[in-house]
Amino acid sequence: MADKKRRRADSDSDSASQPFKNLLKSDAQILKILKSVTSSSSSSTSKPLTLADLALSATCREVSDLSLSSVQSTIEALVLQLTHQILSGQGFSFTVPSRSSSNQLYVPELDRIVLKDKSTVRPFSHISSVRKTTITAKILSLVHQLCLKNIHVTKRDLFYTDVKLFQDQVQSDAVLDDVSCILGCTRSSLNVIAAEKGVVVGRLIFSDNGDMIDCTKMGMGGKAIPPNIDRVGDMQSDALFILLVEKDAAYIRLAEDRFYNRFPCIIVTAKGQPDVATRLFLKKMKMELKLPVLALVDSDPYGLKILSVYGCGSKNMSYDSANLTTPDIKWLGIRPSDLDKYKIPEQCRLPMTEQDIKTGKDLLEEDFVKKNPGWVEELNLMVKTKQKAEIQALSSFGFQYLSEVYLPLKLQQQDWL
């Protein structure tokens, strides 16, 4: 604590170089504001809607968690069907739910993307689909083995079982998602996991495969988010909010400064585009702890895109959006309007490339952006000024400006959308 006092005293002297520092109220006052927000938000959460509630279950497709044995028997039934087809001399084919963007639907009531019911036939005896059909059969047989042996493997393991056939991990990964859709189960129930990518640090205690983990005592790097969510349970926390960070660099800054001790919170990052495990973990935290989720992303179209993947799901995995999406994520920063508000110097802003502007304009057409007028306004501002900035742009006021001024001020003003 003595250390902290000294640092505070020091920083007062250089308030000129850290603008807006004088606006900051005391930590206690900010905490009080936060507490009132948290209590009001936790009381308002209700049971989430489902497709059935909206009478959409007939036209939309959704998968569910299946037990290992039911996955196995579904595969077996499918294989028997294939065998019948082959023996009758008709070759064989799969009927695969289409995951193309034309088959996606944003449902505003659910605030997430769902998959419509269009399917494509993947016949073996056609030159354009023979490869994918063969890979699908191969993946089915591999998953069947996993079911028999009751083990987990990574996507990379799966790829290495037949590198010659798969050629590229992208191909086996894509077919794995197809297989989930065909079987109607989540990807986790196929016993195939992705390598750990996300990390969490802060006021959270949970059990991982029976071991209790205290995320305040995980060192600077934090705890890697376990790839299979079914091992995770018993979540406890005294945090006031969850802080979702896009970038590893900002995460390290906050973790090292022990930001979660000053304002009790849980800090999560997936280091860029989120993987399935991180999304499942965030959802679980939100559901069990009922905390508001605040997102800290870059002020560029990709930052907002990442935010939308957490919130509404990705098109690639929309079949499982019910399990993967976390509703009601607030956009804390860095927002395009912050660039002028916090007087971020010109040399720290970057001009948007033509590709960036195109992505930005495309996002403006997306329903999940349109539903939030605040976001539309911010995005319009970004496309108009043609400027973007990374979280690191704040380092121009000192490396700790983010944790010591920017975030506390944002929290104090409840400046999120």
Binding site: I75, E76, L80, G91, T133, A137, L148
Partner: protein, 669 residues
């Protein structure tokens, strides 16, 4: 163009007397100027000199034949002359070296010891390898490095079937720099109008030997022979021999022979490339190229045969476009014109100025101008005013009628003839304008072929001559490399053998640099014309390539499908086997149809092979059906036919004609 030479001459003059204490005013002749600055005409070093000499002679020969609309037949011979032969030619006795140490290539005793030891080692290794039965390449041990003094000499002879030269004009045509016939405003091959004169200056500088010219024109019953060199200081011809000889064979054309210092070893490939590319752009000409030396294995003989008898029209001389002239040029036109007043002058000395426009222009010039103003009485200020107005006023673009592009047909034939590509597409753009000069861009793109390296092979032509040097900065190279997305046209930029041919013709080619070897990338009119011409070719190719890919897909469908049968059957069978196991151990119950299959699997009645066979049969059936469908859809479609050119035989010998109602079959005996 010619106007820049005298000005440069003056510049050269001002440089030389710097060292002298009293500066003496010296006059320099144009010939002297070019002798000192021979690099601006492409005579940088002995190798390049040989290349440029060949090039100038070939281009003159082509111009000469085209001027009388005769299909060109050109023979070019380079004969290597060894030093002793050269010495005897000039009447110099070969002298043995007396004071060995005087020479640059003298080998000291120490160096010789070293060399002998090295050679002995090499021999030892070779002997060892031979003993072990290894085959070793015989590498030439004796690499005679040329000393400074060891120059190589070449006799370059070029013979054509062109117009020939008037007997009395020959000395001035070769012995006086900056006197020429190509000084009008038209599309020409020549660079400075220097042509063979530079070769003569170079021969005088390097060997001291004169040039020999034989020529005969149509209707002349004699042959002109002339041996001359040039008096560089006075820029006048120095005639050794000038006589009329018998022309027994009624030969018409010209033969020029010059002996120069050169370097065949380093410029061999450049010269051969030049000949090949010239053959591409002039398929109506026949070239015979020979290299003769004492070593028979070094000799080269290449015949570039004629493939068509369609020649592009002779480019016509045109008048200047008002937006392309400068003050100096206006003054010259005024001095030369036969018209009296301003009105007539404007109408007759420029293109795109009609009577009404001339009246409006004169009205705009100001009160001191009138249509009746005597053109020769215009003051300097008035000329500046005319020039200003020409710069600002709007004129119609000049037409491309005065240009003579190679023609799509000829370009295409040339590419097919020399590269034998799998596919070729050509495109000819319409005339466009840059600074008052019309230009036409033609392009050809080929895929595949003989002697073509993978990736982009770029062939550039300006006014129908190949450009070989300074490829990197050229507008064509840059466009092809950076601005064409080959992938869009199903062409692989690194794997496919792509030939890109771009020919630009204009009354003035905007060359960059002193050597006039490339066209800059900074002229947006030309850059965009080049880009769109190449793209047009690519679009044509794309449909061909797609069709070809479809046809290939047809052929390879069965193979591509069958390739996956083992993987697919293995995957299905693996699951079946596991299921059969659990079925046998009664772990799981199945419906009757399914149980039947599983029983057969455990009894080996259904095996991997069964599935394999069934799937193979299915693939064969599908393949047959699809092939049938493809055939009915596409029908029997053939590529459009192309005219072929058969060279006529000049043999007037014996033959029989077999006549039939539709053809004549001629049998030569």
């Amino acid at each position: 163009m010619e106007s820049e030479c005298p000005t440069e001459t003056k510049k050269g003059k001002s440089k030389t007397p710097k060292k002298a204490k009293e500066s003496i005013l010296k006059q320099k002749s144009p010939a002297e100027f070019f002798a000192e600055n021979k690099n601006i005409a492409g005579f940088d070093n002995p190798g390049k000199c040989l290349y440029t000499t060949v090039r100038e002679l070939v281009e003159n020969a082509l111009d000469s034949a085209e001027a009388i609309s005769e299909l060109p037949v050109i023979e070019i011979t380079i004969e290597e002359i060894v030093k002793s032969k050269f010495n005897s030619m000039i009447g110099l006795v070969d002298r043995e070296r007396v004071d060995e140490e005087l020479y640059d290539d003298y080998e000291t005793a120490k160096a010789r010891e070293k060399r002998l030891a090295k050679e002995a080692r090499a021999q030892e290794i070779q002997a060892k390898n031979a003993a072990l039965g290894k085959k070793v390449k015989e590498h030439a041990v004796s690499k005679s490095s040329k000393g400074r003094g060891e120059a190589s000499f070449y006799r370059v002879t070029c013979r054509d079937n062109g117009r020939g030269m008037p007997h009395d004009d020959i000395p001035n045509m070769f012995g006086r720099v900056l006197s020429g016939t190509k000084y009008g405003l038209k599309q020409t091959r020549g660079k400075f109008g220097l042509g063979a004169k530079m070769a003569l200056i170079w021969s005088k500088m390097s060997t001291g030997l004169p040039i020999e010219i034989s020529s005969s024109m149509r209707g002349q019953n004699y042959l002109s022979f002339c041996r001359l060199d040039i008096d560089i200081h006075r820029n006048i011809p120095h005639i050794h021999l000038h006589e009329k000889r018998d022309n027994k064979d009624k030969w018409r054309g010209a033969e020029i022979q010059v002996v120069i210092e050169g370097n065949w070893t380093t410029y061999r490939s450049k010269i051969l490339h030049y000949m090949r590319q010239m053959a591409v752009i002039t398929p109506y000409a026949q070239f015979l190229f020979k290299f003769v030396s004492d070593a028979p294995d070094k000799n080269v003989t290449i015949k570039f045969a004629r493939r068509t008898d369609v020649m592009p029209p002779v480019p016509v001389e045109t008048k200047h476009h008002p937006s392309s002239v400068d003050i100096l040029l206006i003054k010259r036109l005024i001095a030369e014109t036969s018209k009296q007043n301003l009105m007539q002058f404007l109408q007759h000395e420029f293109v795109n100025i009609g009577k009404p426009l001339a009246e409006r222009l004169i009205g705009e010039m100001g009160p001191e101008f009138s249509p009746k103003t005597a053109v020769k009485s215009l003051t300097d200020q008035q000329i500046v005013r005319i020039h200003q107005l020409f710069r600002q006023a709007k004129f119609d673009d000049p037409s491309g009628d005065c240009l003579s592009p190679a023609g799509e047909y000829n370009l295409r034939l040339g590419i097919i003839k020399e590269l034998h590509p799998d596919m070729v597409a050509t495109y000819s753009g319409s005339a466009q304008v840059f600074e008052g000069h019309p230009f036409i861009v033609e392009a050809g793109v080929s895929v595949g072929g003989k002697d073509v390296k993978q990736g982009l092979n770029i062939f550039r032509f300006a006014n129908r001559i190949p450009l070989l040097f300074e490829q990197g900065g050229d507008v064509v190279t840059r466009t092809a490399l950076k601005r064409i997305s080959w992938n869009n046209y199903k062409i692989n930029q690194t794997q496919d053998k792509i030939g890109v041919f771009v020919s630009i013709v204009s009354t003035k080619i905007p060359f960059k640099g002193t050597g006039k070897e490339y066209i800059g990338d900074d002229i947006s009119e030309i850059a965009s014309a080049v880009k769109s011409a190449i793209q047009q070719c690519c679009i044509q190719l794309k449909s061909k390539i797609v069709k070809k890919m479809q046809a290939r897909e047809q052929q390879e469908r069965k193979r591509n499908l069958s390739k996956y049968i083992p993987d697919a059957t293995n995957a299905v069978y693996d699951v079946l086997k596991e299921m059969a196991k659990s079925h046998a151990s009664k772990k799981k119950r199945y419906e009757e149809g399914d149980a039947d299959i599983l029983r057969k699997v455990s009894d080996h009645l259904i095996t991997k092979e069964t599935l394999y066979e069934k799937l193979t049969q299915h693939v064969e059936k599908v393949d047959y059906e699809m092939a049938l469908e493809y055939a009915t859809q596409t029908g029997v479609r053939e590529e459009p036919r192309e005219d072929i050119y058969l060279e006529s035989l000049d043999d007037k010998g014996n033959f029989f004609d077999f006549h039939s109602p539709i053809f004549v079959f001629r049998l030569f005996l």
